[in-house]
Symmetry: C2
Subunit: 423 residues, 2 copies
Amino acid sequence: MTTVRSAEILAVGTELLTPFRLDTNSLYLTRQLNDLGIDVRSKSVVPDDADELAHRLMVALDRVDLVITTGGLGPTADDITRDVVARVLGLSLAEDAALLEHIRARFERRGMTMPETNRRQAMVPAGARLLDNARGTAPGLWIADGTRVIVLLPGPPREMQPMFETLVRPELEKLSQGRKVFRRVIRIALRAESQVEEIAHPIYSRLAHGSVPIETTILGAPGWIELHLSARGDQESVISPALDAGVSELAAALGSSVVSIDGRSLEEVVGGILLSRGWRIATAESCTGGLVAGRLTDVSGSSGWFVGGVVAYANEIKLESLDVPAALIDEHGAVSEPVGRAMAEGVRQRLRADVGVAVTGIAGPTGGSPQKPVGTVVVAVATPHRTTVRTFNLGGDRPTIRQHSVVAALELVRRALLADAPA
Amino acid sequence: MTTVRSAEILAVGTELLTPFRLDTNSLYLTRQLNDLGIDVRSKSVVPDDADELAHRLMVALDRVDLVITTGGLGPTADDITRDVVARVLGLSLAEDAALLEHIRARFERRGMTMPETNRRQAMVPAGARLLDNARGTAPGLWIADGTRVIVLLPGPPREMQPMFETLVRPELEKLSQGRKVFRRVIRIALRAESQVEEIAHPIYSRLAHGSVPIETTILGAPGWIELHLSARGDQESVISPALDAGVSELAAALGSSVVSIDGRSLEEVVGGILLSRGWRIATAESCTGGLVAGRLTDVSGSSGWFVGGVVAYANEIKLESLDVPAALIDEHGAVSEPVGRAMAEGVRQRLRADVGVAVTGIAGPTGGSPQKPVGTVVVAVATPHRTTVRTFNLGGDRPTIRQHSVVAALELVRRALLADAPA
């Protein structure tokens, strides 16, 4: 029986070689294949050019157990994948009468006559197994060639993904013989990547050489770091405890800046704490302009713990909608700890919430000064018994500063909630 | 002299073959090369494996004028690009004393001693030209091999991009002999892709076969469609007017749903109209939870025309902060045209703005009913002389409905502004 351990992905389509289209299928397929313990050895984008595709296909078939192509199964002259694969494998192509009827019926159900060009889609290489396309006319194809497997999938993700999940993955599961990838993720807020690296490196270097080898990948975004741990094998009962032990060790070393180890986002963690206490939160935003509220309401069910918010962009709104004293702005400026504090306390009171969070800052590119340069951002959190305020000096362009500010606000809420727990 | 017309991009790095990392360099390089009139014939991701990379490189050198690699120039044993390229081209590697000093000095400036492993980065293939790395230790390399060019660039985008722009692009401009790509983009809101396709197809099919052939690509997002037009050649004086004529013809056919033909985003267009009239806008959001305000404040300088907003997630905020009569909610429900209208007019008055925009809807996955299913979204815009209200029935999941709602709100503001222009 064929064993599939290695794969190559070929995305077919000249349009994927322009700056307008990104081949997202390969990333999806990489994750799916990795989950099955199959290594992706290479992924390539190739144009709608028969010689080029034939060449790439031959190279791939020489090197891996499984080749997956996406795209080029449509009805036009540009759609060459079916023909090229048949030619390279030396398989004859014949019209499949039942498939042709199926395609024709699909058009008729929509009150249309099948264009003659779509006949091409009923051509099937000898010995190929058809993969039904629930969302389009182009069927996929599964071809076993000696010890190798070639799978042809359609290009549109909404057709490709369900086809892969329902028809391809179960077959590959058998051929990869239950060797799977198990994953965990540790999410960390407001720590420098170098700090995290310094703490985590000795631990994950050791984990990589344990009896269950664990691979660690670090991903970063403004104010945000994720450690992705993975291990592969067929014995979940051995691998899961090893992964959990690794996660615990890393989380303990990284301390209180760890937001979650169970896959939850920062806003889900914040919402979970609020919900468990029956508390509700309100937002007061200047430089983030509504993005903190936007992130909180990304969470389905946020109406259980999110009241609402005020976007106080103009200073007059800070006075009128948040009861910030005008004298405070005159004395300290709109971007200052006293004003941030007043905004958080003001929105908490005005919207009758248990927690108020405020952000005021200078996202740039203009508006900075030597005392308060672009990137100066004040975050304040008012909980029932105290208000905490912190000033950040963030780097980067306007979108980066705004994103980082959103993470800072949500993370300070999380920390304030933990520090001000009900007795 | 070498003429460069075709290129292949090889992204080197085993980490790019995991689901965690996407090779974004190739998209950037594709745009850059296309701008210079250079066709990208293929792009591949290859692992840190010397045999594999050597094989891919030989294949590429056989087929194109220019091969660009990214990644694999670091100091570790995994960083193999330099060695493999030298081997494939039959070039000897020698330590460059000046480069070694340069790297050493870079470490010393940061108060560190250069680790011995970094010596590898001073190895240079015979005849290669060094490309200075302003942001890292790994220099790039430019190698001319007969009529072909091989360029080795570092993997981190923040190192790669400035190196490409300052040192590689000017050289390639000479070799591509001034053949450039010229582009235009038409942005369209709240039209179905099939409608746009039906109107635009006959026009862009003809443009593709004009004396200046124009290529058109259609990109879609929830509520949003972009037509990207491009033409290549060396005579801007001929190409630009042809592109402009194509854009005008398409824009005229597509009518009032065209948001911009000059590259501006929807929020920039809305901000531009407000600024030109000296008007200010305020937002009242329920299901979009602050995202409309967030999009408006993405625009630098938005404080000139954006006052602020209210995120009225709980009904009590709709009453207290927006003066929506409780009876209206009782009678029609929070997601209804009368409540949307009251929210838009309420925020306009309370925040003393010239324009108020409101969104109230059901983003799901819960909260729908047979009368008002998930995806029911009401948008209202109050301008000085009238209020317009519209109900949408949007498809997709929660994030899709929210994104689509934001576009709907901003686009209805744009249309309301055009319909209610000052005399």
